[in-house]
């Protein structure tokens, strides 16, 4: 006979009880004068509360099939030997009983959530982004693009103290010549606005509204003006296909969604956003390449320069940790180079896009 406290789950009255385990070790019986009849609990059904802060007592309840799979009655035992005996002999003491069909419900809602999120991320948001990117008034897009370019400039200058906008008149004139040659005879949606920022990274981007940014290292690394022309044609391809706008619209919707999924685990949300951007943009990059090749062909600019550029990018990538293709925002460089090479071999008469003097002026645009 052991002393214990018992709440019968019907009233809040505390019964001071005696408990005893039956001889066959199958059940325990709870007796008290305040209880109408002794209560019998099968030992196999006993459950103890988990993550309790008290080590001196154990609160027991009983497994029954109900909303929370527990008998509302509670038995509080404080006898150390009895607690130790229960722990040793009852393997199901701390089992978590899950209501039937709970897993089914979770699977159902889990699938629902995954489908809803996937539908939003891969169908509805891109679809709406497509429609909205077409419908957004050009002036608003240009204003937004300027803000983005400014933001990029600010970010770049924080990582590179000497960052400046490069605009030597001769350099700008050379860029204009290049742009005119590429876009001659084309019906362009946007007035292309090219900026060169002095920065040590080999890169170029397109922002919404016809804003194109080239980093000066790209001009310095390029071996011929045709390489730069290829990159420029590629960025114009993004602009004309409204990729930057679409990307921005999609990101606006996705940001909220991802932060909901991952809670305050900000890192995971950022990684998720990157993977998502990567999956969208690889397709956009292939399309922009196609546009660029077609543009070079029409303008009779030698695509060998563009091919050469990819070959050298590949060399740069090898030095660093190689990024697997599905993690990268751009398709595999060697594949892109091959595409350009094929065009170059089929091209007939081409003429130089800049004179040597113009090319020298362009490379010195930051000086």
């Amino acid at each position: 006979m052991l002393q214990a406290q018992f709440f019968d789950g019907v009233t809040a009255y505390r019964h001071e009880v005696c408990i005893s385990v039956l001889d066959d070790q199958q059940a325990l019986v709870i007796h008290a004068e305040s209880l109408a009849d002794p209560v019998r609990w099968e030992l196999a059904d006993l459950r103890a509360l988990r993550d309790s802060s008290s080590t001196k007592q154990l609160t027991l309840t009983r497994y029954v099939s109900s909303v929370d799979e527990r008998d509302p009655a509670r038995l509080i035992v404080t006898d150390n030997d009895f607690i130790a005996w229960l722990r040793a002999t009852q393997p199901d003491l701390f089992r978590r009983d899950v209501r039937k069909r709970t897993w089914l419900r979770m699977a159902g809602w889990g699938t629902g959530a995954v489908v809803a999120i996937a539908l939003m991320l891969f169908v509805i948001l891109p679809g709406m982004a497509n429609i909205l990117a077409q419908a957004i008034p050009i002036e608003r897009e240009v204003a937004f693009g300027k803000a983005v370019t400014q933001q990029i400039e600010w970010v770049l200058s924080s990582s590179n103290a000497g960052m400046q906008r490069c605009d030597s008149p001769e350099g700008v004139a050379a860029l204009d010549t290049m742009l005119e040659r590429l876009t001659a005879g084309r019906d362009m949606h946007y007035a292309i606005d090219i900026q060169v920022f002095g920065h040590s990274e080999v890169n170029a981007f397109a922002a919404p509204g016809g804003q194109v940014v080239i980093l000066s290292a790209l001009l310095e690394e390029a071996e011929s003006p045709e390489e730069v022309a290829g990159v420029l044609a590629h960025e114009i391809g993004h602009v004309e296909r409204r990729d930057p706008m679409r990307q921005a619209l999609r990101a606006a919707g996705a940001a909220g969604l991802l932060s909901m999924v991952f809670g305050d685990l900000a890192g995971a949300a950022v990684v998720g956003e990157h993977l998502l951007t990567a999956s969208y943009s690889r397709e956009a990059e292939v399309e922009a390449d196609r546009f660029a090749l077609e543009m070079l062909a029409t303008a009779e600019v030698d695509a060998a320069g563009f091919a050469n550029f990819f070959t050298r990018i590949e060399g740069l990538e090898d030095g660093d940790i190689a990024t697997p293709e599905h993690l990268s925002t751009h398709p595999d460089s060697s594949w892109r180079g091959t595409q350009a090479q094929q065009l170059a071999e089929s091209q007939g008469g081409t003429t130089a896009i800049l004179t040597p003097a113009e090319w020298a002026a362009l490379q010195a645009i930051c000086d």
Binding site: F7, D8, R50, D51, V67, D68, M106, I321
Partner: protein, 400 residues
């Protein structure tokens, strides 16, 4: 009213909360690590286990509270909320963006008036879209927690009524803003009353007594702080900058303390004027000084810890500066230390701020005339489908 010192003082029992800080620290740290390893999914189980622990360490009349919620039902609630919110928020954000009203293309520092007006419109649209959901979430969260709390084997519960709460919350908050805070006590009183009077312990309902104008005395220190700031503004325009700066500091601190004072005193008033059934009432006597001391000690403790960590990191960097073979190793090292610090401070915050404050509120709480509690009858289990999913999805779940 404070009439308890009269000779015929009824019997009362004090509540207690006696957790073991060290095991609570390791519980938070361990479950936090699991949360990171599972990309955030374990956070529902983390909250549940922390609640189980805190509830279990809280007792009155030698009987501990019990938390019966499960991580699984919280996770399912979150999934349900996600399905609905995903569609709502995703489409909403995109439409705003299209109309040029997104946070992306307006700026608070715009100089021309139309741009400024547009910025304000954007801010208000966001608030209007999300605010009802936040109020909804706060009601559902409290309802879920009540439905999963037991004492002496008897369930607590709260009726449905989240949308009614949303409407009242928006109305009273708006009134508070329009009157520049002058009607804040009305909002505090009515909103707490709305929640309290839908609450049950077993078959006994909670009643909220008292009247809202009595909450004005809780505003005393906030008022003094604001007066100091106004005086400071006056002096500043007269050109006594040194004096104004000193007053600015004093006024700022006074306002901050005033906010805590209001929270503490209004809680004490509201709780001391609740009754359960016909006869059981409560007394809450939390002290502002005690709460501020907890914050102060935590600030000092975490500050010392931060200095110590900065010291360790600079030593480590000095040692390994030449040793780091590649960018990758350095990056992984930085990521691991970030995770460790995140977990460390999460656990420290629980042990030094969240639990001590909760503990202070519990320790200064007592039940007056607890005798009739024994007659209280059990109530039906409440399924509470959806748990507190909206709060979890919107990340307003709070510390536990």
């Amino acid at each position: 009213m404070d009439t308890h010192h009269l000779a015929s003082e009824p019997k009362s029992v004090a509540a207690r909360q006696e957790p073991d800080s060290l095991s609570l620290f390791f519980l938070v740290f361990k479950t936090g690590l699991l949360t990171i390893l599972t990309l955030g999914i374990y956070r529902f189980w983390q909250t549940t286990r922390i609640r189980q622990y805190l509830w279990g360490s809280t007792s009155a009349n030698d009987s501990a509270l019990e938390y019966t919620g499960t991580g699984l039902e919280k996770f399912i609630g979150f999934l349900i909320a996600l399905v609905i919110l995903a569609l709502y928020l995703g489409v909403f954000q995109m439409l705003l963006f299209y109309f040029g009203l997104s946070m992306f293309n307006v700026s608070s520092s715009a100089t021309n008036p139309t741009e400024q007006a547009r910025y304000l419109v954007v801010v208000y649209i966001h608030i209007l879209a999300v605010l009802p959901l936040l109020f909804y979430a706060s009601y559902q969260k409290r309802r879920y927690m009540m439905s999963r709390t037991r004492w002496c084997g008897i369930r607590f519960s709260m009726e449905k009524g989240a949308w009614g709460y949303v409407i009242r919350a928006i109305g009273y908050r708006l009134l508070t803003v329009v009157t520049l805070g002058a009607l804040a006590p009305l909002a505090t009183f009515k909103l707490e009353q709305y929640m309290a009077e839908r609450s049950y312990y077993g078959d006994a309902r909670i009643k909220q007594g008292g009247s809202w104008p009595r909450l004005y005395s809780s505003l005393t220190h906030l008022f003094i702080g604001i007066v100091i700031l106004l005086v400071c503004l006056g002096i500043f325009t007269w050109g006594y900058n040194g004096l104004a700066t000193a007053l600015l500091c004093v006024g700022g601190v006074w306002v901050a303390i005033g906010v805590v004072y209001y929270q503490v005193k209004s809680f004490a008033y509201m709780t001391s004027h609740k009754t359960l059934g016909e006869e059981v009432s409560f007394k809450a006597e939390p002290r502002t000084g005690a709460i501020i001391r907890i914050y102060f000690i935590a600030a000092v403790g975490m500050g010392v810890m931060s200095l110590f960590i900065i010291f360790i990191i600079s030593v480590m960097t000095a040692i390994f500066d030449f040793g780091i073979s590649s960018v990758t190793v350095g990056f992984i090292g930085a990521a691991l230390s970030y995770i460790f610090l995140f977990l460390l401070f999460q656990a420290m915050k629980m042990v030094m701020i969240t639990q001590p404050i909760l503990g202070h509120y519990v320790q200064t709480f007592s039940i007056i005339n607890p005798e009739p509690l024994h007659q209280i009858q059990q109530r039906q289990a409440d399924d509470a489908v959806g748990a507190e999913g909206v709060a979890d999805a919107l990340d307003v779940a709070g510390a536990f």
